[in-house]
């Protein structure tokens, strides 16, 4: 035995010995209680930093102690390997993203071994490996079959030179593409979404079960889901169309003196009068060029245009004008709001700017607000006035106050219903880029969207990728005859052999979720083949 402590003389020796003994393998003895330790998978950048060292050391201590305490510990490792950085690195270096990724994985695996982390490397997963994304695709099909995956037009950042979609981070402060320098356009594209909003209520309620989570994280999740309760109210237009709005303050309906639609609202085609068509069109184009953050920023000067049409306020049958303004977003709520300028500051500013009428419906005690003289909205307390059946009821969301009474009245009179709204929106999973899992849907010219049958998974990425001078990865549109026309992207030879998980991932026995980077590629079928009748 050495008399001096020399880490270099012992650490590598034991790492090799442990690997040879298979010490970190998940125990087969199922009589022991299980313990599943998981660290968030890193992005394979190629270099381990101190933040990584900290997270994997922490998880390692927990896993090692539980193993010694008699648990059957599963402590796997994986790589969150799809995404733009690999694609960009590949463009810069002129190598395939797979090559770059697997080189980095090998390097980082070695660095983790140097730290003595007890990962069961036989359970390693790499999200860009066809054997892994086969299950990403399978899960997508589960969602599709459940009616939870759908296509919808959505706005994207479009680089007209590179002919590609850009992430928000790739657009600079002047609205230009980081790579081509082109003025980025906002473009409507048909994209895939997962319907997370169907689960908003459960995702919120079940936070109560998570006593083993930091309070801070639970709160962040609750805020992100952003539940608000109120009512859905239907306004009829002169043309007979119906505009549905969600409001958290249905009690102020009698004070709704105009409506504002998102510039992208589909009913604008019928609502816009001939005289207004030109200005509406111009305003729509202007709004399309702006980012969501710019559009909703507080304190900026209100802009908007009248459509020329009116709606009928369902509670008092008054005619109220319909405007459009960019601060109303199409994908939040219903893309239409009722404006109550006397009691909402943004609506108040809008009304003053365009000289629209204001009606006070909440009167604070001891004061007398007047639409003519008020200088700001009054969102606070008071008693309902000028509100028909609600007059005299104290304004507020508590039991016995005006909101409850309003919902009741709306439901009794068939004018609306109590409901909840969420800030959470459906999850856009499409990326018009190469390095991601292809969405296993066939876009067939004869029969539309057809899911790829399970037996034909994985749908592999094409290999005939070209690197254009502009930098964007381009590839031939491909015709998957058997669904997998090319062999899986082979890992490049590296210091250590890449191991693949084949049978370990079975739902119910092994379950890990990557930071999913799913990329929609349209499978264009010239001739319908497999799975397409």
């Amino acid at each position: 035995m050495e008399s001096r402590y020399t880490p270099a003389a012992i650490e590598e020796k034991w790492q090799q010995s442990w690997a040879e003994q298979g010490l970190h393998k998940t125990a087969a003895d199922i009589s022991k209680p299980k313990f599943y330790a998981l660290s968030m998978f890193p992005y394979p950048s190629g270099n381990l930093h101190m933040g990584h060292v900290r997270v994997y050391t922490i998880a390692d201590v927990i896993a090692r102690v539980r193993r010694m305490q008699g648990y059957r510990v599963l402590n796997p490792m994986g790589w969150d390997a799809f995404g733009l950085p690999a694609e960009n690195a590949a463009i810069e270096r002129g190598i395939h993203p797979a090559q770059w990724t697997y080189q980095n994985v090998a390097q980082m695996r070695q660095q983790l071994d140097q730290l003595g982390i007890a990962f069961d490397w036989e359970r390693e997963v790499t999200t860009c490996a066809p054997d892994y994304y086969r299950w990403t695709q399978w899960i997508f099909l589960q969602f599709f079959q459940a009616g939870l995956a759908y296509q919808k037009e959505a706005t994207v950042n479009w680089d007209p030179i590179d002919q590609t979609v850009l992430a928000n981070e790739q657009v600079d402060s002047e609205g230009k593409s980081w790579r081509s320098g082109a003025k980025v356009e906002r473009k409507q594209l048909r994209q895939w979404f997962l319907k997370i909003t169907d689960y908003a209520e459960q995702l919120l309620n079940d936070l109560d079960q998570l006593s083993g989570w930091p309070e801070k994280v639970r709160l962040m999740q609750a805020n992100w889901i952003g539940k608000s309760t109120g009512a859905q109210v239907t306004f009829k237009t002169e043309t007979g169309d119906e505009l549905i709005v969600f409001t958290t303050r249905p009690d102020t309906l009698w004070g709704a003196t105009f409506m504002v639609l998102s510039p992208e609202h589909p009913l604008l085609e019928t609502l816009t009068t001939k005289q207004q068509a030109k200005v509406i069109k111009a305003y729509q184009q202007e709004a399309a060029a702006k980012s969501e953050i710019d559009r909703t920023a507080e304190g900026r000067e209100k802009t908007g245009v009248w459509t020329g049409s009116y709606a009928i306020n369902p509670v008092n049958n008054e005619q109220i004008p319909i405007w459009i303004a960019d601060y109303v977003l199409m994908d939040y709520g219903t893309g239409a709001i009722m404006a109550v300028p006397a009691h909402d500051q943004r609506d108040f500013e809008f009304a003053r700017q365009f000289e629209l009428s204001i009606a006070v419906v909440v009167q604070p005690q001891g004061e007398s607000f007047d639409a003519e003289t008020m200088t700001e909205a009054h969102p606070g307390e008071g008693v309902m006035v000028n509100s028909g059946p609600l007059d005299g009821i104290p304004a507020g969301k508590e039991k016995g106050q005006s909101v409850e009474a309003a919902v009741q009245w709306l439901e009794q009179n068939g004018k609306g219903k109590g409901t909840a709204n969420y800030r959470l929106r459906d999850w856009l999973i499409s990326r018009q880029r190469y390095w991601g899992a292809p969405i296993p849907i066939i876009h067939c010219p004869n029969c539309g969207t057809v899911p790829v049958p399970d037996r034909d998974l994985p749908v592999c990425l094409p290999e005939d990728v070209e690197f254009s001078g502009r930098g964007a990865l381009r590839w031939q549109s491909w015709t998957p005859g058997s669904m997998c026309p090319v062999p899986p992207v082979a890992p490049q030879p590296s210091a250590r052999q890449i191991r693949w998980i084949r049978s370990s991932i079975r739902p119910g026995t092994f379950y890990a979720i990557p930071m999913l980077r799913t990329i929609a590629r349209r499978l264009i079928l010239k001739k319908p083949t497999t799975g397409c009748r």
Partner: protein, 336 residues
């Protein structure tokens, strides 16, 4: 099956976790899973921050390589005295520390020990070279302790299982043996608790250091209790510093890996202190302390107090009006 313990950064607190929860619920509703939530427990670790030099006047960062004298850092361009702050490690500030460099200089075990010791896991951690060296020195002390132990020929007993962990003959132990055994089992209890619940790795490492000190200072290095102490130190150290623990374990004659050993359970009997420190007060003022048997009753405590040197000095020749005894804590004399 759900993850029992998930560990990761707070930057993934919203989307990644929300999407994972969503996936779980959808697959459950498809009849593919039988649980509601994917992650039973979540630990979000804090950032690792590096030493950063900042000019307080200009607000600009000065790269460490441009600081001539780290004990009196000045801006080489303006001559201003620099402020030393800790900020998230980044390339632009050049305040990062490469894991490979630390491993080459001190070894992986030291890097691990430092990271676990420096801050509670959910708090930010300031990278401090002096504290890294501190952990390296600690592992060196453990190394010497066990090397001396092996040199003294005691490892034969460890390998043969001849230590005081099984059937401890408590009553026959000498006072130094009892004290050491209490230190051993206090460490087992504390480290085990720190690795349950809130994961206080930093205090767990402190406990290991305390145990190592107790072994170094022990007056009973030929006792089976000492053998038990070495064994406990190595097993408790194993999850934190797996390489050195394994090396010392196997060089002590154990053929199997330390990582396949069972975790230790604290012996409640060993934790019981057989003596307590009794505070002696005169007129409510503390004048000294005395060691007394832990089981002594009120009368016995008063007797021990009266006979103590401390009390004698103050009560001799005076009339004792009243004696207040708080069992397990103090005796207060009210004198006239």
């Amino acid at each position: 099956m759900p993850v029992d313990q998930y560990v990761g950064g707070i930057e993934h607190a919203i989307l990644h976790l929300l999407y994972s929860r969503f996936f779980t619920k959808v697959l459950r509703d498809r009849g593919l899973l039988n649980f509601d939530e994917p992650f039973q427990r979540l630990l979000t670790q804090g950032m690792v921050q590096g030493k950063t030099y900042k000019n307080p006047r200009t607000g600009k960062y000065v790269l460490p390589m441009n600081v001539a004298d780290p004990s009196h850092p000045v801006d080489p361009e303006t001559g201003d005295a620099l402020e030393v702050v800790y900020e998230k490690m980044s390339k632009s500030k050049s305040n990062g520390v490469a894991p490979g460099d630390v491993i080459n200089k001190y070894g992986a075990d030291t890097a691990r020990m430092f990271i676990l010791f420096k801050a509670p896991p959910e708090k930010d951690l300031e990278w401090d070279e002096a504290d890294v060296e501190g952990q390296f020195r600690f592992l060196n002390r453990v190394w010497r302790l066990v090397t001396d132990f092996v040199g003294a020929g005691l490892s034969v007993q460890l390998a043969a299982g001849k230590d005081s962990s099984k059937n401890p003959p408590l009553q026959e132990l000498s006072k130094p043996e009892k004290d050491l055994r209490r230190a051993i089992h206090t460490a087992i209890k504390a480290v085990t608790e720190d690795l349950q619940g809130e994961y206080q790795f930093n205090t767990a490492v402190s406990e290991l250091m305390k145990l190592s000190n107790a072994l170094t200072d022990a007056d009973c290095k030929d006792s089976p209790v000492y053998v038990e102490g070495i064994r406990a130190l190595l097993i408790l150290l194993a999850p934190f510093a797996p390489h050195i623990a394994e090396e010392l374990w196997q060089s002590s004659g154990n053929p199997d890996s330390i990582h396949t050993q069972a975790w230790l359970a604290a012996d409640p009997a060993a934790l019981v202190a057989d003596e307590i420190t009794l505070v002696i007060q005169i007129m409510g003022k503390t004048r000294g302390t005395v060691q007394v048997p832990a089981g002594a009753d009120k009368n016995a405590l008063e007797q021990y107090a009266r006979e103590s040197e401390v009390a004698k000095r103050y009560i001799e020749g005076k009339e004792i009006k009243k004696v207040i005894v708080v069992p397990g804590k103090l005796v207060n004399f009210v004198v006239g």
